[in-house]
Amino acid sequence: MLRYIGKRLLWMIPVLLGVSFILFSIMEFSPGDPARMLLGEYAAKADVDALHEEMGLNEPFFIRYGNYVFSMLHGDFGTSYQTKVNCATEILQRFPATLKIAGSATLLAAVIGIPIGIISATKQYSMTDVFVTTTSMVFTSIPAFWLGLILIVVFTLHLHILPSVGSGTWKHFVMPALAMSAQLTATLVRMTRSTMLDVIRQDYIRTAKAKGASPKRIILKHALRNTMLPVVTILGLDFGNLLGGCLIIENVFGISGLGTLMVDAVKSKDTPMLVASVLFASLVGGLVTLIVDVIYTYIDPRVKMQYIKGSK
C-alpha cells in the first residue's frame, strides 16, 4: 500500500510540470502585456520597454520557463508582478478562506445529502421520495451565485442575522457554505439514492432480510458500505475542485480566497502568481484524490488488494 501511495506521489511531479508548462505557454501566447498592465494603458513605450527589460520579459520563452522551473524546484515559486510579494506567501494567506468554504460546503452536503438519499431510496415512489427527487432536481439547476444573492436578501437584508461580506467570523461562512453546498447536496442525494436502490436489490440484502435482520441493520451494516464508493468519489472530486477556488461565491460574499487570486492573476497577466496558485490547487487536488483512493481501501478491502497487485 505504501508503494502504491509512493508511486502516486511520484506521478504528481510530471503532472505538475506539465501543468506549469501549459500555463506558462497560455500566458505567453495570450494577448496582453504585464508591463503595460502595471504601468497603465497610457504609459510611454520607452517606459514599457524598460520595464520589460527589468522584469526579464525580453528573454526567450524557454529560458524564462527554465528559470522558473529551476527556482520552483528550489522552493521559490516566484514574486508576483503586481504586489511584488512572494507568491507562496500570498497563496498561503488566501488558502484558509477557500478551505473553510470548501470544507464546510462538503461537510454540509455529506451530512444532509447522504441520509436524505438513503431515506429516498428506502421509501421509493412515496411522497417523500417524490419531494426529495424534485427538490434535488431544482437545486441541481440553481446557480450558486444566484442562491448566494437570495440568501443575502433573506438573511442580511430582511432578517439581519448574518453578515453579507467578509470572513472575520464563522457567521461569515454560513451563507457561502449553504450556497456552495446546494448543488453538491442535490448531486449526492441523487447518487446515494440511485446507488442504494441498486444495492438493496442484491441477493445478499435479500438473504439478510430472510435471516430476520432489521431494516436499520440491513441499511447501515450491509447496504451503506457498498453505496459509499461512488458517493466518496463525488465528495472527494468536488472537495478537490472547491479547494481550487470558488470564485463566484468569493466575489459575491467578498471573501478573499484562492479563486479570486487566480482570476486577478489572469486579468493582470501575473504569470508567476497564476502558475503558483494553479500548481498549488493541482497539488491539493491530487492529494485529495489520493486520500479518496486510500479511503476506498477501508470501505472495500478488495480495492486494497487491487492496488497492491497493481503496484508490484
Binding site: R36, G40, A44, H160, K171, N251
Partner: protein
Amino acid sequence: MRKTIKILMAICLMLTVSLFFTACGSDTKSSGKSDQNRILYERALSDVPTYDPFASNDVTTQRTHYQIFDTLITQTKDGKYEPSACSKFEMNKAGDEIIFTIREGMKFHNGQKVTPEDVVFSLNTAIKSKYTSKVTSTMKEAYLKDGKVVLKLKYPFKPIIGCLASCNLAIVPKDVYEKDPKGFAQKPIGSGPYMLDGVKKGETITLKAFKDYWRGEAKIKTVVQKVIKDNTAALMALESGGLDLMQPSQDYSDRKALKENKKVTYYEAPQAVFFDIGFNCEKGRFANKKLRMAVAMAVDKNDLIAGAINGMGTPVDAAIVPLCPQYPKNFKGTEYNVEAAKKFLAEAGYPDGLTVTMRVIAATNYTKPAEVLQAQLKKIGINMEIETMERAAWFEKVYNGGDYEITYYAHPIPVADADFCTYSFFHSSEADGNGNNFYNYKNPAMDALLEQARASQDEDQRADLYKKIAEMVRDEAICVPTYAGYRTMAAVNDLQGVYADSFLRYYKYDYSWK
C-alpha cells in the same frame, strides 16, 4: 431509522434557533458607538497591491493612497487647487520653475518631521518612476534652494499645478523609503490624515486617524475599506448597513435603486472623460475622410445617450472633456444629418453601403453604445458588425497595434486641462504605438497647434488654440466625440461631507458623522 432522523432534525432546529439568538446582536451594521468613534465602512473595488505611491497609477489603489499621503497641492471639492504640504508656491516668469515653501510643523506617521529634503526626494523619485509619467512627464528635476523646494520643468506647462495634486507625487520620508522600498510598499509611512492600521489581504484595509496631522485629527477615527467586487453584493451591503459609502456601478437599475432609497444619499458629478468613435485614419477604408464624415453625420448623440446609458450623460461636441476650462463655449459639432451622411457615403465610393467591423472592449461601457451606433449606421447603409475583445487584447491589437478600422473608446484625463485630452491623442509623435494617438492621425498643422497650446502661458490664447484644434478634429473627422457620463457616489444619510468627484480624488478627512 425514524428515531435517528428525528434526532437529526431536532439538532438542526436547535442550531437554527441558536443562530437566531447569537446572530441577532451581530455586527451586520456599522458600529453603534458614539458618532465620534463610529467606523466608516467603505467599499473598495479591489485590493491594494502596493502602498508605494510611485509604483501604481491604478485609481482604485490611489483612493487609499490619498488618505495616507500628502501632496504639495490638494484639490478642493469644487475642483480648485490650493497649497497643502506647502504653505505657498510661486511660478517663475518663464513658467518652467515652481518654488515651494514647505509647511512647518508637518509630521510623518512615525513622528519624523517632514523636511524639504523629503519633498525633494519624493519629487525626484516620482519623476524617475515609470508608473507616474501621466503626471510627471513634463517635470525635469527637483532641488533645494535657500531652504525651499524648486521643481524644474522640461518646458513651461500651465496644467502642472493640477498634476501636483496627484498622489503619484506623494511625500514620503526619504530615509525610510530609501532603506527598504519593498518593505515600504507593504507598510507605508505618509504624512496624510490616516495611517495604515491593518490589512486582511483581498478583504479589508483599515485606516486609523493620524493624531498629529497638521490640519488636526480627522473627525472619523477609523475607516475600513471592504473589498467587494460584485456590484449587487455591494448594493445589498449598503442597504443592510454593512457599508456606509460606495461608488455605485454605471448600471441604470443600480442607480435607480439608490436614488429611490430613503436611507441613502446619491451624488453625481461629470466624468473626467468623454467617449468617442475612433477611426484608423492611416490604414483601411476609414483613411478616407468622406467615409469618416458619413459616420460622423449619422450619429444622433441624444439617441445614443438614451440608448447606451439611459440618459445619464451629456453630449460632447468638441474633442475636449467638458470639465476643462478650455472647452470652447457654444461649440458646434458635426451636424446630425442622415441625408448628408448618405451623400458623403456615396462620394466616398460606397453608394450601396458597406460592411465594417467595430472592435470594442467587452464591457457594457463600449458594447451598449456600439449596439446603438449599429442601428444608427444601418440607416445610411453601413452594416456594422461588432467584435468584442478582452481588454488586454483590445489594447494590444487596436490601441497599440493599429489593427482596426473603427472602434469606440474614451479620452480619460488626470487633470482638468485640454492638453491631456488632445496632445497625446492627436500629435503625430504619439502615433504608431508610441503614445495615445491610436487614430494614427498625422498632420503637421495639428502638431503645430498642439505644441503652441502646450507652450502658451496665456489662458485666453490657449482657449483659442484649443478651439482651433477641436474644429480641426471635427472637420477632419479624426474621431467623433459622443458623450460624457457621470461619476457617482452613494452614502448613508448621516455621513456628511460626501461628494462625487470627477477625478475620483476622495479625501476622507472632509467626512464626518451627523
